[in-house]
Symmetry: C2
Subunit: 328 residues, 2 copies
């Protein structure tokens, strides 16, 4: 490995001079600077960032914990988080909790040991207290952790309201909602609150059935529908699913059972991630979360905290959008 001494020798200057050039400190003549820079280039000298990180007590690494790296919702978020972070010269360390509380605890501890500059929490399998004790910059996606930890989310309540009103406007009289799992107090639960309240206001019969966790294959979803939803299918004429995978599987299930979508049954989903954007035959009616803006905001909020600057550090709730597809 090439050292700073080798660079100094090749450039015919002192180590202090090389260090000054590298750190842009003190007066350095143009010629000297050029000599040093040429030597660095020729020797392919890579200054040791780990040593620098120790010195500055900053690693320029952000940790992100998600429940499933391969889920399009999270891979898109990571994509946008990385895009913004890399503009600001931060790197992204990814951790996959697999919805497992122990793994999540271990990752938080690992990230602290590695002195990342901050953590973006997109996985939520622990009690709120455990995140409060993390004692480093942290931002959260879709969950309120404390008044001092900012969160970013789409307007989940509004999303539930828009979805429900859309089904009512399309003429549905009896509505079913397949929610996400409601065991933690997460912001997406507001979708279910909005569903219930909107139905009540309109005097519409409704029911909520709690769905499964985010990691769901087609077969998992199919079996869930077969077990929990099938017997209700003919009783309802509109179903609001809290994620697009469930909405899609439900469409396929209903079609196979001879129920015509959207004539007899209208289906609306939630997310509009890469799967949904690619999908045709049918295209799904759904609620779009602006994953690009959410990802960039998670990144910028965390970096603002880390750099302790005067920029905005407020919770951010992004507007959602109805995407009209073939299923309503």
């Amino acid at each position: 490995m090439v050292s700073i001494k080798d660079v100094a020798k090749a450039a015919g200057v002192s180590v202090t001079t090389v260090s000054r050039v590298m750190n842009n400190r003190g007066y350095i003549g143009k010629e000297t600077r050029k000599k040093v820079e040429n030597a660095m280039r020729e020797l392919d000298y890579q200054p040791n960032q780990i040593a620098r990180a120790l010195l500055k007590n900053q690693s320029f690494v952000i940790g992100i914990i998600v429940p499933d790296l391969s889920h399009p919702l999270f891979s898109e978020l990571i994509n946008w988080i990385e895009a913004y972070a890399s503009e600001k010269d931060y790197k992204l360390l990814v951790c996959n909790s697999l919805q497992n509380a122990e793994k999540e605890t271990n990752y938080i501890s690992m990230l602290r040991k590695n002195r990342v500059d901050g953590i973006i929490m997109c996985s939520h399998n622990l009690d709120v207290e455990e995140y409060r004790n993390v004692a480093m910059p942290i931002v959260s996606f879709d969950r309120i952790l404390s008044s001092t930890i900012p969160y970013v989310a789409s307007d989940n309540y509004r999303g539930g309201e828009v979805a429900t009103n859309h089904l009512i406007e399309k003429g549905c009289n009896k509505l079913l909602h397949i929610s996400g799992p409601l065991d933690y107090e997460l912001l997406p639960n507001r979708r279910s609150d909005a569903f219930q309240l909107t139905c009540m206001k309109s005097g519409i019969d409704c029911k909520i059935i709690q769905g499964a966790h985010v990691k769901a294959t087609f077969e998992d979803n199919w079996n869930f529908i077969d077990r929990e939803i099938a017997s209700h299918l003919t009783d309802y004429d509109g179903i609001f699913c809290s994620n697009d995978f469930m909405a899609y599987t439900l469409y396929v299930y209903a079609s196979k059972k001879g129920i015509k979508v959207p004539e007899q049954l209208k289906i609306i989903g939630y997310d509009y991630h890469s799967f949904t954007r690619m999908l045709r035959n049918p295209s799904l009616t759904t609620i779009k979360q602006p994953l690009d803006r959410i990802g960039k905001r998670l990144s910028s909020l965390l970096i603002n905290q880390i750099e302790d600057n005067d920029l905005d550090r407020n919770n951010t709730v992004f507007d959602v959008e109805l995407i009209q597809g073939d299923t309503t």
Copy 2:
């Protein structure tokens, strides 16, 4: 921040003893170990991994460069790479080249500066020489970089052969292949070689049209088909697409133009990532790459190199599998 001295004081032992417990070195009585461990727990002591990394000259961080973090092929690969790496206590730093040669160069340089222990290259926008000069452990997905840099791939030639033979067995007489971009010498190009040779052997008329890069939305694919493929559509009765997104878009396009799939036109794809596994109406006929095994292997090959152990470091080519769907 709690230091090793604080732990020693709380446990009533010397700093050397704490260090021994932490590093599992030298003889430590059971009682003493317990005292130290309790003190570490009570004080919530997090050993500084950055300092350790400097000491051991190892960071336990692996860098991975992909062309698109949000593409399901790469997000699944990352998922499996992380799963294996985390078992071995390595962390994953993700970099998104966005198919941009300059970004790729910058990332390689950044990873070297941060002294990652090795790099998994899944993005291929530079000339082979640039990777050879990296001078740290490196493994490659889908590309031969040098005789000393191991690669992992599915059997691309066999995949092309199986796909082509499948179309011929299903009765196709004139075959079209939409390949990936052939501007770099990548292993997936073998799919096109196999297509051509298999058609020649069977005396089947064939044509290859070069497709676009991996980042392709439905609209991009649709426009490409409209521009490059549409005028050929009725001349061919079987099309082998080098990725599932293209195959799916082609199915939608052909259907809209009144061409019946699979009766008039048979379509086969390649990849079988999460999008394809979720898809019904139609399910795609495709060639499955075992992304779980590829990801784990990329991880283990790199770690074997890093740890300089006696374990296997050979190039690995995994078998592919025909998935029969509705499009052939």
